[in-house]
């Protein structure tokens, strides 16, 4: 199997526990998996945020100063820099009153990708198209 698609879906908010953070770093690791695969084999994650999972993405996070840890915002920038597809559920952003422009971007770091705010139907589609799904 050449490419294997994985849908990683974060349903819990960031910070209190570790799992929702580890989802992001696991997705980012797709970048180096080739060293363990044969030529032409790839893993392509789509990182999706739904439900309360959309809460912890907002810009302006102050994690390093306050708690001495990398912020989720900074992780999200890294996902964009390594060209990951990041889908955030529009219905859930609306539900919680979070504007789309509160989503982090990595424009100033030269990222081509941006966070894609999409209807849940798009995330359903990503789950359907994936070979495997992981819920965090």
């Amino acid at each position: 199997m050449g490419d294997v698609k994985v849908a990683m879906i974060v349903q819990k908010p960031q910070y209190k526990g570790e799992t929702s953070r580890l989802a992001i770093t696991h997705a980012i690791s797709y970048q180096t998996v080739e060293i363990l695969l044969e030529d032409g084999e790839t893993v392509t994650p789509k990182l999706c945020f739904i439900g309360e999972g959309v809460l912890g993405l907002q810009k302006g996070q102050n994690a390093m100063e306050l708690y001495g840890i990398t912020s989720t915002e900074s992780h999200m920038k890294n996902t964009l820099l390594v060209d990951l597809d990041v889908l955030v559920c529009k219905e859930d952003l609306d539900k919680y009153g979070i504007p789309e422009d509160a989503m982090p971007n990595a424009d100033e770091m030269g990222a081509d990708k941006t966070i894609q705010v999409v209807p849940f139907a798009e995330i359903q589609k990503a789950i359907e198209e994936a070979n495997h799904v992981m819920f965090f």
Partner: protein, 98 residues
Amino acid sequence: MKLGVFVSDFNLTVDTLDRLKAEKLGIILVQNGVYHATTKVSGKASSLLDKTQNLYVLSDDVQIRGLKVEDVDKRVKVVNYSDIVDLMFNDYDKTAWL
């Protein structure tokens, strides 16, 4: 998509199961999820049992809680770990733990 979903809590904090669509949906009740199969709340069976006809509950996780296989709702099939492996490989092509 044939999706097998593991449910391990009674009181779910996510509404993902209400939103996800699958041509074939299986719900495998494990850990505290087994209460969906055994326990009515104010006389009413869990609404989870209405979501699909493909319902399974892990026997060990029923019995460790002092519940009996006879307590399990008739719609739910009692399975063991080995059955779950077969379900995963034969009946569903993706599995999720919510």
